[in-house]
Symmetry: C2
Subunit: 480 residues, 2 copies
Amino acid sequence: MLDTQSIQAIQCIVGEKNLLYDPARIKAYNCDAYTAEKAEPTAVVFPETTEQVSLLVQYFYQHGIAFLPRGAGTGLSGGATPTHHEVIINLVKMDKILSIDYENHRAVVQPGFVNLHLTQKIASHGFYYAPDPSSQSVCTIGGNVAENSGGSHCLKYGVTTNHVVAVKCVLPTGRIVELGENFGDAVGYDLLGVVVGSEGTLGIVTEITVKILKKPESVKTLLALFDRVEDASDTVSALIRHGIIPAACEMMDKLTLYAVDKSHYRVGYPSDIEAVLLIEVDGLEAGVDDVAAEVMNVCTAHHVRTVKLAANDAERDLWWKSRKMAFPAIGRISNDYLVQDGVIPRSQLTHVLETIAALSQQFGLRVANVFHAGDGNLHPLICYDARNPEELARAVMLGQQILELCVDVGGSITGEHGVGIEKIQQMAYMYNELDLNAQSRLRQIFDPLGLCNPGKILPTPQSCGDRPTRHGVVSIPSSL
Amino acid sequence: MLDTQSIQAIQCIVGEKNLLYDPARIKAYNCDAYTAEKAEPTAVVFPETTEQVSLLVQYFYQHGIAFLPRGAGTGLSGGATPTHHEVIINLVKMDKILSIDYENHRAVVQPGFVNLHLTQKIASHGFYYAPDPSSQSVCTIGGNVAENSGGSHCLKYGVTTNHVVAVKCVLPTGRIVELGENFGDAVGYDLLGVVVGSEGTLGIVTEITVKILKKPESVKTLLALFDRVEDASDTVSALIRHGIIPAACEMMDKLTLYAVDKSHYRVGYPSDIEAVLLIEVDGLEAGVDDVAAEVMNVCTAHHVRTVKLAANDAERDLWWKSRKMAFPAIGRISNDYLVQDGVIPRSQLTHVLETIAALSQQFGLRVANVFHAGDGNLHPLICYDARNPEELARAVMLGQQILELCVDVGGSITGEHGVGIEKIQQMAYMYNELDLNAQSRLRQIFDPLGLCNPGKILPTPQSCGDRPTRHGVVSIPSSL
């Protein structure tokens, strides 16, 4: 609970209407889309300018008050969950587009600007913004910067860090800095690259300059149905081996198909199909038809049952809706589900999917697989019933085993959802103490008092191997 | 000069044959390819393993001896010049390829491995390594990592940082760490991204895991001759506007054409041509012909005099040799030249080229322009005669004005050559004190004693605006 002096100071900065501290009204901010852990914030404040953010943060820093930034709250790893009674700095009112430069392919937006709105705003000029997380219709570009969000089309076009060229950022001490270059690569050390994906722990981004891309002249979307998961996996590797970089290459397995066909976006997949690939190729009108034909040939060489081109935009939209709404669709076949997010070498796809199937049997929990196959970025969805605490615990344990499997085959514990609080234990599985110390030291330069989104990403020493102690502080070793 | 104890200690680590300290034999290491400043090293040591590098660095750190890493010495900004009597750690003996994984598109090399040798080694399997600096036949991949090197084909494929997925690195304190992920993006803070492009100031990279790419099925190369520089510039913007991302898009101006046609690689450009574009498109056989035809249409719409496709590999090779050897070719028309390396928004190409022409007049020095036009990465070559010290000073001043012009139009002072010692003054033109402090603080975590390639990249406080004091130390402010 804030004291009266702090309430007055904050109101003085942002105005009375922009501070919430009534416990009933701030309860909605006790987690983001990672709902397995919840905790109450102290207050929620809605700044409207960079200067207000800076003044707020200066006040918090002078008074030892922990804080964290929040966008739309769609994060999947708990990055915006106030585990340390933080004041939440909600950026939804900073939702303007500041400038668009079509000639040089740049746009400047505030952090609360919704991802999809950017593409909608510039579409009439033939442009779009490439990173497209499934939540793009509601998630904010500020949140995308924090999590270095990916999306279906990141196989060809890269993730958020490849599209952000500069930011204005309020450091945890309250100073305002500009990082990155509008044109050209980093000069000196790449501090922008460190801030992108830092999950709101190194400062609060208040202006973002992104690349906007010319819409491809032509897009062809194919749907390929396979009798065996292995054939679908081999097709993905073979496409890349043939030098084809699809704009997107998504896989869904049998359980996912069953769920999505129960949703509003019913495609009508045959019930005995084991895996579907949704493949998109794009480029100039001239060449795309031939590339699509090559994709079909590769599918045929890998025993596809059927493969077809979307007949029109309506069919293409339906296929994509079916894919993008796959997570919520799982809600139709299971009370609850945990979304995992691991990365593996493409060559390990078949092995890892078989092992997940075996783990699913062993744990007695269904697992649906839907993922960015081209990138080897898996999203196993573990079905469970939260009303049974033992089943929740089993689901969490299965999720951890899947992540450790990803690390064991040479992969990583997160493709695009971040570490947050969800995967903090796996950081110690993936990294040794030295690696983690290096990251802690970096964090300490930005945030010497440990007040900016504390307890996220890096395990505290006592938490390595155990359940992390939420109130520990990040350890600062004396040197690298 | 090293004392006897240090000589024995170093010999103990690397063997007698791997240490040079005779002044006559180490003189060759007094600069890299930025020859405007020279300084003698204390010794040159040739480690053969990561462990040797680590032991050396530990010894240097314990004894307060400054050191710096060196690859092939082709750097253009003085990053390997021993301005602080450093011991040079020469990595040429660490020149092995450690593993190749064709299935997952990865190769692991030592830092002394030559860039072009990687493509040659994997070519028979249909693969290549994308970053292609003009010096690729001699420069090392370790040096490319230090400088985040670009190249002609980086417009479509990205620079070194986009192709390095992981490194083994000896920190300035001697500890060995692994940074990055073989698969998937950075987990936690992107420390790999900070090390790539850090110009040998944050440690010594001893193993590098890079992406290798499948060779495009088909490549078409076009040569377009223009009567006006403006038309060539507009063509570049128009290509990108049409959604065409050429694999390469290089421009050479009249003076450059004159020089290259005097070289061994004579194309026979008409003497009244003002600008040439060398444009390459690649991809699947199926579509490339059509894309090349579109490129021709865009050139025609912008008043090209002639545009033609390379008739065969021999013609293509000649065109590329003529471009890649453009820097040395300037040596045929001028005793000496300074290569600059600025980045500008593509939309400013015409304005900046006109301003450079006016500055050239004003300073009474010829400037040849050859550059990666698609990226807006300029390489003005300032012709001068070093036998006349006043002319050298004038050339340096002209170079600085060109860099400041790049910053003024919204660009940056380096595209791919790094800051080194050459552009250390312009860092203070581009960044304010706060920005520079943030970079200093980052450096200090890696190198608390300031012994690893000191005096590079960051100006010392007293040097901002003045000529940098070579023996100053990097200032460490108490907080961000």
